[in-house]
């Protein structure tokens, strides 16, 4: 029961970009399309879960003074793995995500979970925590990506969604559109959570 909560908290209570406002750089940069958002999200789930598991299992061996250095090495290794795998198997998405895959290293969600959760909890709880937070992050990326893609290009995952004469509102695909839509979503989420 308690373990289940470690998983579900990432989906709403600690929802990374909207509730605790972390990991905003990728959410602004890679959500031009739902597909890139999904690719980024899957990368984050992989890195977060794996690094949480490893860090949690070595939490009693690693000395306190050098823990951050150790965490970063582990996280960077998994990020490099994601980069290599995406290059080998999902090259078009790799091309679109570009620099933002290596930048997962400095995504504060991942180091934050390593420091705040995985270094203090058991392996299974850490794995569920990583999965939950990562899944919540992916859902947020896909949600924002879908909103921006449907308004900015008239498609979702590349499939036409709008009527034929639709002239896309390309503002949403640009940087200001990312800020505006993120701000509006944050506002809506806050309004909803205040009510409940």
């Amino acid at each position: 029961m308690g373990l289940m909560r470690e998983f579900t908290k990432g989906l709403w209570k600690d929802l990374a970009p909207f509730r605790v406002v972390l990991g905003l750089c990728p959410i602004l940069a890679v959500t031009k399309e739902a597909e890139t958002g999904l690719g980024m999200g899957i990368g984050v789930i992989f890195v977060l879960t794996c690094s949480n598991v490893i860090i949690s299992s070595i939490r009693n061996i690693i000395p306190r003074q050098v823990r951050i250095a150790g965490f970063i090495v582990i996280i960077a290794s998994f990020v490099t793995m994601v980069e290599l795998f995406s290059q080998a198997y999902f090259y078009p998405i790799y091309q679109k995500l570009g620099i933002f895959i290596p930048l997962i290293v400095v995504n504060c969600i991942i180091l934050g979970r390593a420091e705040a959760f995985a270094s203090r909890n058991g392996v299974i709880a850490s794995a569920l925590d990583g999965l939950g937070i990562g899944l919540g992050y992916t859902m947020s990326l896909v949600l924002l990506g879908s909103i921006r893609e449907i308004l900015g290009a008239g498609t979702i995952f590349g499939v036409d969604m709008m009527w034929a004469s639709f002239r896309p509102f390309t503002f949403m695909a640009e940087a200001p559109g990312a800020f505006v839509s993120l701000g509006l979503l944050l506002g809506i989420m806050n309004a909803v959570s205040r009510k409940s």
């Binding site: 070595i58 061996i61 690693i62 000395p63 003074q65 050098v66 250095a69 150790g70 090495v73 582990i74 960077a76 290794s77 490099t80 793995m81 290599l84 795998f85 290059q87 080998a88 198997y89 090259y91 078009p92 091309q95």
Partner: protein, 188 residues
């Protein structure tokens, strides 16, 4: 003292294990990455500079050794006879290595086209050299390139504000043209 040793040992262990894992994965994926790059980056460029070829350019790629360096050649064929060849060369750009794919007409000894492959030029400034208005200028140039002091050969206007990137393209092109006689020999 014991603590210091523990720190050093643990960190070294972590780094060693991570390094080993990464090099393993790299060697597994290396071949596939080259292949993916071939299809996704070089492929479209080859198709573009060798437009009019009737064969499958990617499948019939071949590799030759020239001056001890391995070069991947794409040979375009018409009526089963090679009419053009394309290959990549690179030079240092503004933000890192810049590769170009140049196609040559084997009969007329002219450029059939030039496309920019991987590069890390500044978006919006240097990256303008990757766009058609710039690269289209190279089409039809004679292989006997003339330079009169400008960053680009005669007949090509450099991009203002992106001199370094324009020069990188020219540098890579010079290398490419220098290789051409030997490559022509190897193909025919």
């Amino acid at each position: 003292m014991k603590q210091v040793i523990q720190m050093a040992v643990v960190l070294t262990l972590i780094c060693t294990i991570c390094g080993a894992a990464l090099s393993g994965i790299r060697s597994i994926t290396a071949e596939r990455i080259v292949y993916q790059r071939l299809i996704n980056v070089q492929g479209p460029n080859v198709e573009d500079v060798l437009k009019g070829s009737e064969n499958d350019l990617i499948a019939e790629r071949e590799s030759v050794e020239i001056d001890g360096e391995e070069i991947l050649l794409f040979v375009g064929k018409k009526n089963d006879r090679p009419w053009a060849v394309a290959y990549e060369t690179s030079a240092a750009g503004f933000g890192g290595e810049l590769t170009i794919m140049v196609g040559y007409d084997l009969e007329k000894d002219k450029l059939t086209g030039l496309k920019i492959g991987t590069n890390s030029e500044t978006a919006g400034v240097g990256s303008r050299v990757t766009q058609d208005p710039f690269t289209k200028q190279f089409k039809g140039l004679d292989i006997d390139l003339k330079f009169t002091g400008g960053p680009c050969p005669v007949g090509v206007d450099a991009i203002s504000g992106a001199t370094v990137s324009s020069m990188a393209v020219s540098e890579a092109l010079k290398k490419s043209v220098a290789l051409y006689p030997k490559i022509k020999e190897a193909v025919l």
